[in-house]
């Protein structure tokens, strides 16, 4: 058993890459180093938000943790056990405690199964968790818990709206009574009004069941809302990590600052000191990331050193860690008080 101080999930120097094949010719066109050397800890009952734009590797990271993508090297420790070296039966036992909510509520539910079949599939695959004669009752309980009508258990996914389907996805993720739930852009496909409902549901579930969340999103205000701690990713690496408060009020990495400043806010006049940093250029291809600091091609602070020496993720200003040679607090806080 782990002591309360130990993190539930601990990732160390994780590398995951996958070959890119051109769709039409089936030839290998290169490899994407999607996750290159990521480390973080997630304590039990807490939420780690993972933000980043396309190509940042956040989804690949999630898929590696849950076992959908094979890592190249590194450690994924869950409850003290290294998932990458654990033997078969123990691994299944451990994996059962990690579940995932997917982005697309339309694609992530098998259209041929009823909601009851979708949820109870977890118990079919893992015999012994819930005896078969209790399935119907348990399904009803789960549906009620995620805010759906238990009488709709015999309906098919297409009979539900997007938000309701996402609730079904959450119910499925809860069926095995997991301790860690990975939410991969779980609210991104939803309309704002429905997104807020699901965010509240997730918060309630965490409070009731003591779940840990690895919450992946590109929407910074959503991440700020739900996370205790935040890691910012850029091209396969974590560039800044700290508590939500630290990241949103005192970001020190230029990328985090730019990212925060680029988020459109509904009432810009309410924070007149907010200054937008418009980055030049595009995100480089993850197939051939820049040398040294990966952000240097778009950074206004870049110097020669940045091209040759890769900045490690470290605490340079005595507050929280960042991967920049020249970290400094923004002149005006990006997200201000």
């Amino acid at each position: 058993m782990s002591s309360p101080a130990d993190p539930l999930l601990s990732v160390r120097d994780l590398h995951t890459s996958f070959p890119i094949r051109s769709a039409l010719l089936r030839r290998k066109a290169g490899a994407v180093q999607a996750v290159s050397g990521v480390s973080f800890d997630l304590p039990a009952g807490r939420t780690l938000g993972l933000v980043g734009e396309s190509g940042s590797g956040k989804t690949t990271l999630a898929r590696t943790v849950i076992g959908l993508a094979p890592p190249e090297s590194g450690q994924v420790r869950f409850d003290g056990q290294d998932l990458l070296t654990l033997p078969g039966a123990d691994l299944r036992q451990a994996r059962r405690q990690i579940q995932m909510v997917f982005q697309d509520p339309y694609a992530s539910l098998n259209p041929r199964l009823t909601v009851e079949q979708i949820i109870s599939e977890a118990w079919l695959i893992n015999p012994g968790v819930v005896p078969r004669d209790r399935w119907a009752t348990e399904v009803r309980d789960l549906l009620a818990r995620v805010g759906l009508n238990p009488d709709h258990a015999d309906r098919y996914p297409h009979q539900f709206s997007g938000g309701q389907r996402q609730r079904v996805g959450i119910a499925r993720a809860l069926a095995l009574r997991p301790r860690l739930v990975i939410c991969d852009e779980a609210v991104s496909a939803l309309d704002v009004s429905v997104q807020a409902q699901v965010l509240n549901l997730l918060a309630d579930l965490q409070a009731e069941l003591g779940l840990s969340f690895l919450f992946i999103a590109h929407d910074l205000s959503v991440v700020r809302h739900i996370s205790d701690e935040v890691a910012v990713m850029y091209l396969g690496k974590v560039v800044e990590m700290g508590t939500t408060e630290q990241i949103f009020t005192a970001p020190v990495h230029p990328y985090t600052q730019a990212l925060l400043s680029a988020v459109p806010v509904p009432r810009p006049w309410a924070s007149p000191q907010r200054r937008q940093i418009i980055l030049a250029g595009d995100i480089p291809s993850p197939m051939s990331p820049p040398s040294g600091c990966r952000f240097r091609t778009r950074c206004w602070k870049a110097q020669d050193r940045c091209a040759t020496e890769e900045p490690a993720l470290a605490d340079r200003l005595g507050d929280h860690s960042s991967a920049c040679h020249f970290p400094e607090l923004p002149a005006t806080p990006a997200g201000s008080k």
Binding site: S22, A23, L24, L25, R27, A29
Partner: protein
């Protein structure tokens, strides 16, 4: 593009090698003795033994295969037992006639297939579309040998408009050409129609309309070019099938091409000619496909420039 071409050429060579190997294996591995097969059931043991020796059938299979490959590379398929001349030479002599037939059928197929397909797509679910669809269904469902016979029955025997067979002028090409083209027309109609219907829903068609281009330009400039890409591939594959299908049509119309020679050689057990004919057609097929690949790359920059 060069790298792409190189890869495709390499693949073509690989495929040809595969075809040669298949022919070799089928000839050597089927139950029964090839020598016996060639000489027929009334051959004496001595004759068979002599032929086995001559064909190298007593040696290990791998050695036989090596010798066979060497012969193929030199275009040496042995002599025809019937004509006592070079088998490949014999086949090559007939090849232009088959090619002529296939090219005519291809031309008819492309013109009719694509234009009828476009008509179907532009008039989707209206009368013209339904007529075209029924025509396509009939063309692909009726056996071509039977259609050929019906053509002869009607146009040659009853109406006396055209000759029933043999080769010669244009009038003798019409019936076999159309017969051979019918299945191709059917496939191209379906492909063009569905391809165009798909493309018309693409976002870039909306963009073209938002630019204020006339509907005619939108369809004939922006839509057809994209819809053509899969058509080119299929047309290439179909050309190969035409070469194969020609076997039947040539038989029906007594057209003295490779197909006719092939069937005659099969009944005469002239296997050297049979394999020469088969490999020549396969070779033509592979070459056509190579051309199609190049054309495909030209039409679709996403392939040409590699993604």
């Amino acid at each position: 593009m060069t790298a792409y071409l190189f890869r495709r050429t390499l693949f073509a060579v690989f495929v040809l090698w595969g075809a040669v190997t298949v022919v070799f294996l089928v000839l050597r591995l089927v139950p029964g003795d090839p020598a016996q097969l060639i000489l027929g059931s009334d051959a004496t043991q001595d004759e068979i033994a002599r032929l086995r020796e001559q064909m190298g059938l007593n040696r290990p299979l791998v050695v036989q295969y090596g010798i066979y490959l060497g012969d193929v590379v030199r275009f040496d398929f042995g002599d025809s037992y019937r004509y006592h001349s070079d088998a490949m030479g014999l086949v090559m002599g007939r090849f232009p006639l088959t090619l002529q037939l296939a090219v005519v059928a291809m031309a008819i197929g492309l013109v009719l297939g694509i234009s009828l397909g476009v008509v179907g797509a532009l008039r989707v679910n209206r009368l013209a579309d339904r007529v075209v669809s029924v025509f396509a269904l009939l063309s692909q469902s009726m056996p071509s040998f039977w259609i050929g016979i019906m053509f002869i029955l009607v146009f040659a025997r009853q109406l006396h408009w055209l000759a029933s067979g043999g080769h010669g002028g244009f009038d003798r090409l019409v019936l076999p050409g159309i017969t051979l083209a019918l299945p191709l027309i059917a496939i191209l109609i379906r492909l063009t129609r569905s391809g165009l219907l798909d493309v018309v829903h693409e976002n870039y068609i909306q963009t073209a309309r938002a630019k204020g281009l006339s509907e005619r330009l939108v369809i004939f400039l922006h839509a057809i070019r994209n819809a053509l890409i899969p058509i080119v591939t299929v047309a290439g594959l179909e050309f190969g099938k035409l070469l194969g299908g020609a076997v039947i049509v040539e038989t029906v119309f007594s057209w003295p091409g490779v197909g006719r020679l092939l069937i005659d050689s099969i009944s005469a057990r002239d296997y050297n000619v049979v394999q020469a004919a088969i490999l020549l057609i396969a070779c033509g097929f592979v070459l056509i496909n190579l051309v199609v690949d190049v054309l495909y790359g030209y039409l679709d920059p996403r392939i040409r420039l590699g993604r």
